[in-house]
């Protein structure tokens, strides 16, 4: 058995898992911690369905290995909202129709949060750049852009 213990803060709580240093963060979250809001789709860093925040930066959790993120703070879709309500980005996705099947949505919302944290009032170019790693097959991105724009208003006000 492996003697490696992966320790990190996940959504504000301490997590400790007997793991392999090369285990993927996506698997630790989904299989060990039961946080299935983080999805897997391509498992090679091209779709963003598995995106989470690692010390506040958006990363594809299918590409991050346990040893690379041990001791860090990880925020998944489940940890975005404080308290009962929705995070403003979640609220905007809900109201603007920023999702359909919802399978890209966790990663997309995480990416939008990271984008807005960096650029509270992003330009069209910054939006494209910030979300270019997140694929959505359902929406055609129209609802996602509406959501980003409506949050940008909230973020800046």
């Amino acid at each position: 058995m492996s003697e490696y213990i992966w320790r990190a803060t996940v959504n504000g709580r301490k997590a400790e898992i007997a793991a392999d240093p090369s285990d993927k963060l996506a698997a630790l979250l989904r299989d060990d911690l039961g946080l299935t809001g983080t999805k897997i789709s391509c498992e090679l860093g091209r779709c963003g369905a598995c995106m989470v925040l690692l010390d506040g930066k958006a990363v594809n959790s299918c590409l991050v290995m346990a040893y690379q993120c041990s001791g860090k703070a990880i925020t998944t879709i489940e940890g975005l909202a404080e308290g009962e309500g929705l995070h403003p980005v979640q609220q905007a996705f809900l109201e603007e129709g920023g999702f359909q099947c919802g399978y890209c949505t966790s990663g997309m919302i995480v990416a939008v949060k990271a984008l807005l944290d960096e650029h509270p009032s992003p330009s069209a170019e910054q939006i494209k750049e910030g979300l270019s790693g997140n694929l959505c097959r359902c929406t055609g991105y129209g609802g996602i852009l509406r959501a980003v724009n409506s949050c940008a208003k909230i973020y800046t006000s």
């Binding site: 989904r30 299989d31 946080l35 299935t36 809001g37 983080t38 999805k39 789709s41 391509c42 498992e43 090679l44 091209r46 779709c47 369905a49 998944t76 879709i77 489940e78 975005l80 909202a81 929705l86 979640q90 609220q91 996705f93 809900l94 109201e95 603007e96 129709g97 920023g98 999702f99 359909q100 099947c101 919802g102 399978y103 890209c104 949505t105 966790s106 919302i109 069209a124 939006i127 494209k128 979300l131 270019s132 997140n134 694929l135 959505c136 097959r137 359902c138 929406t139 055609g140 991105y141 129209g142 609802g143 996602i144 852009l145 509406r146």
Partner: protein, 775 residues
């Protein structure tokens, strides 16, 4: 009306499945797990075509953690599946016909153990010649892939005397069109959980678009009565037709029954690409002629569809392509001959648009070429030939009268994008300063059938009632894969019953808990839901008001359903006019349920509207659509950018504005991928684009800044069928509109999708030479 977030106003409703989706708390079927479950993996073929000489599983059985290794010897029932013809083996025993063919399946304690054990299975193959070209597959000396040969299906439709009529034509154009092997690319790959219950029943949690069909197919394979199987098929992370056929279900079910333990399977993207369905690549050869005034006289079509290794819905897809190659036009002399051919190129099957996408691209391109030949405006050419309200359908069959084609034609003719084209043609719009950037505008249209068509059972119906706990419960056998059927049902119910969304319980995607009202395909669900509720809502209201009348001592005629329960119809306007704070129902739904003593359940049962004429595959209901786009072609790179697009859709009343807009936006971007870059490349029967690193789907950088939808809601008077489905129409006319715009921009008529960048950038030298005036 121009439909968008603003114009929808208060009718823009959030989705009932929304909160769980934006918080990540929704469990998809591939997210499920239970303690003690095993993990399943499937061994797929190493070759696209080979004879199996021997299969040895001895080593795999001994591998750590392995609970079962199954092959063709372990299928208790029919070793085959396929919605129409079950010719795809669950496990191959003698021959493999594509690299997705399954040979064995393993259940082990971990995924790693299952994969390791797979590597220990010994299969001896004798490779056979690979059939990759559908036309060559029809030659006599071609290797035969099935006992009945290489032809899956043939269509042959004709009217008039096309051959003779071509002689009377002033203009004739001949074209050959090729369309790509598009992948559905749903973000959630196939998978689920398979649970043997203590009662001896089996519960299957796996995505499909027709739970009851899966139940029937699994019952054949497992030799188990249908009632012993429960299919839970929602929620789904995208499908677009791709999960309509069985995929991992036979393996999960067999492994679960063999081990007596729950088994989870979740395909990797590679497995999904290898085994999953794709859109039929087609070669369409068309000859179309018209007279001097632009009246179409004759149209000859030959379709060759590459259906891959197995049938699934290849036959009906060809029927649909045949019907839609004629379009919403009056053409007196027509001949369409189609053939769908088996090859070793994966499996082609059902995919949003269902064969229409290919035909419509070819037909609309033909009309543009004719217009160019005659020096006519392409949109005027369509008007001259457009069908009228009471005309028969494309195959001469009786169809519901529709003004849709004319409505969408007019809408595009008056659209800002089309007006811009006219301005461009008059030289009133400045062209981009860089000589390698060229802009153009194009448009295309169609009428797209909904429902499965004549000759295929297409049951409709649903159930509505009051449950014992006081919920108005609606049950339909639909699946939710993102299209928004739950939102549509919720909106219809709250509007028809006047109730609150919290009063409702909507049950879908569960064969134990819903009646069978057909598949969630073919743009049929909205119509089925509307027809069912139009029948059920007055019946349940009547019953509820009758019970309330006894309890309240008021005549039922003075009562009506509303938020929270049954209300007194206060003069002029009912509960709506009363003070919201103090108003309350006379009797709540919970009290009504208690008063009723038992759950109330009403069912509706009907057949989806179908043409009375025995024309196989012919439709009765259609949604007309047209799109205009403006593109910019970069001749340095050959890239085509879509700058602006306008969709006119005549689908009757808009029930769910958010869903409507989302379907057109999403369908259109998918069609943009079809037109500009998507194609699963195969070499010698082996797929080469195995994931999103090489198979590119549109990203946020690819979408057009402008997007407009004209939702035309007017239906002919007394139209009984209400809102039409719009799940497919967003994706069927964009490709020919783009190629028309490219032609307008750079003068190249595109015959092959996706548009080759090399072809476009290849004209730059000539263009520059022209500019500097070399001799």
């Amino acid at each position: 009306m121009l439909l968008n977030r603003e114009s929808a106003g208060k009718r823009w409703k959030t989705r009932p499945d929304g909160p769980a989706k934006v918080t990540g708390s929704l469990s998809y079927l591939t997210d499920l797990s239970v303690p003690g479950m095993l993990h399943g993996k499937v061994l797929r073929s190493l070759y696209p075509h080979a004879r199996i000489m021997a299969i040895s599983i001895d080593e795999a059985l001994k591998a750590p953690g392995v609970a079962a290794v199954l092959t063709h010897r372990d299928v208790p029932g029919l070793n085959g599946f396929g919605i129409v013809t079950p010719d795809q083996p669950v496990f191959c025993s003698e021959v493999v016909r594509y690299t997705g063919d399954a040979i064995a399946a393993i259940a082990a304690e971990t995924v790693e153990q299952a994969l390791y054990a797979l590597s220990l299975i010994q299969v001896d193959y004798e490779p056979l010649p690979v059939v990759t070209d559908p036309e060559k597959a029809l030659l006599e000396d071609a290797p035969q892939l099935h006992p009945g040969g290489n032809m899956l299906h043939r269509t042959d439709y004709s009217r008039g005397e096309p051959e003779q009529a071509f002689e009377d034509c002033a203009y004739v154009t001949e074209g050959i069109y090729y369309t790509p092997r598009q992948m559905h690319a749903y973000m959630e790959t196939e998978g689920g959980l398979f649970v043997p219950e203590e009662s001896g029943r089996l519960t299957v949690y796996a995505a499909t678009q027709h739970g009851f069909k899966d139940r029937m197919q699994l019952s054949r394979i497992l030799a188990m009565p249908e009632e012993q199987i429960r299919i839970v098929s929602s929620p789904i992370g995208g499908s677009f037709g791709g999960k309509d056929e069985l995929n991992v279900q036979p393996y999960g079910a067999l492994l679960a029954l063999a081990t007596g333990k729950p088994v989870k399977i979740h395909n990797s993207r590679r497995e999904s690409v290898t085994a999953g369905l794709k859109r039929h690549p087609m070669k369409l050869t068309m000859k179309t002629g018209m007279d001097r005034d632009g009246k179409l006289l004759a149209h000859e079509v030959k379709i060759v569809a590459d259906t891959g290794a197995y049938s699934t819905l290849g036959g009906p897809v060809l029927n649909f392509a045949t019907e839609h190659s004629i379009g919403p036009y009056r053409i007196p002399h027509v001949s369409v001959k189609g053939v769908s051919v088996f090859t070793n190129n994966g499996v082609s099957g059902e995919f949003r648009g269902f064969g229409g996408n290919q035909s419509i691209f070819a037909l609309e391109s033909q009309l543009d070429r004719l217009a160019a030949a005659a020096g006519m405006d392409p949109w005027v050419l369509r008007r001259i030939n457009l069908r009228e309200r009471d005309d028969p359908g494309p195959l001469g069959q009786t169809v519901l009268p529709s003004e849709g084609p004319e409505q969408v034609w007019r809408s595009v003719a008056a659209s800002p994008i089309w007006l811009r084209k006219e301005q461009m043609d008059r030289g009133e719009i400045k062209t981009p300063p860089s000589p390698w950037l060229k802009r153009g505008v194009g448009a295309a249209m169609t009428m797209h059938g909904s429902g499965l068509g004549y000759g295929i059972p297409d049951p409709g119906g649903g159930r509505l009632g009051l449950s014992a706990d006081g919920k108005l419960e609606a049950a339909f056998s639909f699946e939710e894969f993102g299209q928004g059927i739950t939102a549509t049902l919720e909106i219809m119910l709250t509007e028809m019953l006047g109730c609150h969304r919290d009063d409702l319980r909507i049950v879908i995607g569960d064969t134990d808990r819903t009646p069978h009202n057909g598949s969630s395909t073919a743009s049929r669900s909205t119509t089925v839901a509307y027809m069912a509720l139009k029948d059920l809502v007055p019946r349940i209201s009547e019953i509820l008001c009758r019970i309330a009348s006894l309890a309240a001592g008021l005549p039922a005629s003075e009562l009506q359903t509303g938020p929270g329960g049954v209300w007194h119809k206060v003069a002029a306007g009912g509960y709506k006019k009363r003070d919201k704070k103090t108003a309350s129902p006379l009797i709540t739904y919970a009290e009504l349920a208690a008063a009723a003593g038992e759950a109330i359940q009403l069912e509706a049962d009907f057949h989806f509207p179908v043409t009375p004429d025995p024309v196989v595959g012919g439709h009765y209901l259609y949604t007309a659509t047209a799109a205009a786009v403006e593109v910019e072609v970069n001749l340095l790179t050959g890239a085509v950018s879509v700058l602006d697009q306008y969709h006119a859709v005549a689908a009757g009343p808009v029930v769910n504005p958010m869903g409507y807009v989302g379907q057109i936006e999403g369908g259109s971007v998918m069609a943009q991928g079809f037109a500009l870059f998507e194609d699963v490349c195969f070499s010698e029967g082996v797929p080469r684009t195995m994931n999103f690193d090489t198979y590119l789907i549109p990203g946020i950088c690819d979408i057009s800044p402008g997007f407009h939808i004209d939702a035309i809601q007017e239906l002919p008077q007394d139209d009984p069928y209400g809102p039409r489905g719009i799940g497919e129409v967003g994706s069927v006319v964009l490709a020919p509109a783009i190629t028309a715009a490219v032609h307008h921009a750079v003068g190249i008529s595109i015959g092959k999708l996706p548009i080759s960048r090399e072809e476009l950038s290849g004209i730059l030298p000539d263009l520059l030479a022209e500019k500097v005036g070399t001799p």
